[in-house]
Each structure stands twice: as C-alpha cells, then as structure tokens.
Amino acid sequence: MATSSTNPNPQNVYNYAINFTTTNLSNGNPFVEPHTVTLQNGSYNIPLNPINIQGNAYGPCIVVPLSTNINNGAPYLKFHLPQNDESVMYVTFCIRHTGMNDGYYDYVNGIPDAYRSALRTWIRDDRDPTNINSTTPWTKTLTFNVKGIDTNVVSATIPFTVTFSATFGGVRIEDDIAFTGPALVTG
C-alpha cells in the first residue's frame, strides 16, 4: 500500500497570514481566545466550488479549484482555517495530489508558470478588459466571517475579505532598445 506524505506547516511554505483578535469592550482589554472562520458564498462568473478537506496535519482547510480539472496536478487555492486554540488563518497555493495526507500539495517557494496562468484565468473570471490598449487590473474577492469561539457573540461576527489581483491587457513601451540597423539618413 502506497504511503502518503505530509505538507509542511503552512507557516513554513509560501503563505499569506491573517490574525484575529477579540477585544473586551467593557474594559478595552484584549481577550485571548481561539477563533472560527467560515467562507461566504458569493456571485462569480466561475463558481467557487469550495471543498472542505480534512486530513491536514495542521487543521481543517477549504480548497477552491482554479479550473474544472480535479485530477492530480490540478491547481487550487488552500485556506488553512484556525485550528484548536489558534487565531490565525493561512492562504497557500496547492495542486491536487492524492499522495498527500490531505489530498493536496502545497507549493513551498512560490508558484510555477502553469499555475500562474490558471490563477490569472480564475481571477479574470470570464471578464474581458474594456480597453485592450490599457493595463487593467482585475480582482476576485472572497469573503469570510470570523468570531471568537469562547465568547461566541454571533452579533459581533465580522466579515473580512481576501482579494486576488492580476493585471491584463496593455502595450508596454520599451525605452532601452539598442538600435543596430543602418544609421538614419537625414537631410
């Protein structure tokens, strides 16, 4: 029987981190407690299709596919939710990999070109820039909710967002090209 591998701690791969805090408004002091995060549904041209996964050694995660491919090698975004007594969430970049404990391999140092292309397509979300001659940044925003576990004040739950941005279109002017052709004729 094939053995499976374990991804490193998400804080030890290329990641983005979000930290959460609770403030006791009665005295203004911080109240230390773990937090829980949920992903909201949203309206996108390319549906999110989030998947809750277990088996990650560092806690529950949500993965979002960047394409319709679900086989080994398919690109995904992974959101590492706060686990146990933690108050931090990580965003990592991964591919489907049935040889990993949680079914996905986290890239350690960045993303390869093919993944970057899929990420840009996902961000573009089937939209076209209105002016191909100008650079257009497109964004795709995911919305999450967070609240404290011990205090569990539902009415105090707040949303936060993770926005992915990529630039499309436009013509870049090169200003340092060495002219190697025949000299210009003037006169």
Binding site: I18, F20, L25, N29, G99, I123, V146, I158, T161
Partner: protein
C-alpha cells in the same frame, strides 16, 4: 439560613467587610487595580449553612452573620465558635459578552497580487501510480457477442 422548600421570592442581603466598604467608597483610591479592573466586583460566592452552629443547640439571634473564619474581627456582624461546613464555591463566568472581533488587515482586506507571487520550479512528489487492482472472481468474458460474464 436553612433549606426553604418553597418560596416565591428570595432576597439575599450582602454585608460588606471593612475592605469591601473601602472599595465601595474608593477610599485610598484603591478600588481599581493597575489593569483597570474593578476590585469591587463579585467574582465568586459560596453556599453553606452559615447561620447554624452544629456544636450547640443554641441558635443565632436574628440578623447575626458570621464571617468566613467564624471570628468577629473587622466584621459588621459576626459570631464566634463557629465552623464552616460543606462550603461550595461558585465562580462567576468572566467570559465577556460585549466584544469586538478584528483582523490585522488594513480595512479587513488581504490583497494578494498575482504579480508579487514568486515563481518556482519545484517539483512535487510523484503522483501515486494508478493500479488495475485484482480481479475478483475468475471467468471469461466475450466482448461484442452479447454473452454474459461467466464464472468458472
């Protein structure tokens, strides 16, 4: 106070000790500690049969309340020769209910620019090989003849 089998209303009267009265009137400006916490805050209480002395058949006079040690020093009302029995301490839950949750993100938004993500040439581990698996049961199968699978 003995067991009251039934009552519509129960009143509890608190007699403050010397330090309690100091906190109430903030004498010597000592009501709040260095963290700003109010020291004149009931955080726990006990239930016990405080007004009964099991060592004697005599009963306390109405209005008499012993302090925690049974002594009568620095207490508004007290009695002596008393031993606390079956003391149950109840602690109030100090989990705050008036809270604010927050993130360390500016505007509660994390912006990830694709162009800022570095490029890598790292190679993931090899994907597991798909197996054909064992055949369960033996037999022959003749395709395209409409024949059924026949076990040996």
């Amino acid at each position: 106070m003995g067991y009251i089998p039934s009552a519509d209303t129960i009143y509890a009267v608190a007699y403050l000790t010397e330090i309690g009265r100091n906190y109430l009137f903030n004498q010597n400006n000592n009501r709040f500690d260095t963290n700003g916490d109010d020291l004149f805050e009931i955080t726990k209480f006990t239930l016990s049969d405080v007004d009964t002395n099991y060592q004697t058949i005599q009963l306390l006079s109405t209005g008499e309340v012993p302090d925690i040690t049974g002594k009568n020093e620095d207490c508004l009302k007290s009695t002596a020769n008393y031993v606390q029995k079956n003391l149950l301490a109840f602690v109030f839950d100090d989990t705050p209910t008036n809270v604010e949750y927050s993130t360390d993100l500016e505007g509660d938004n994390l912006l990830i620019r694709e162009g800022n993500i570095p490029t890598t040439n790292e190679t993931p581990p090899a994907f597991p090989q798909e197996t054909t698996g064992p055949f369960i049961g033996g037999g022959t199968f003749t395709p395209n003849t409409g024949g059924a699978f026949q076990a040996r």
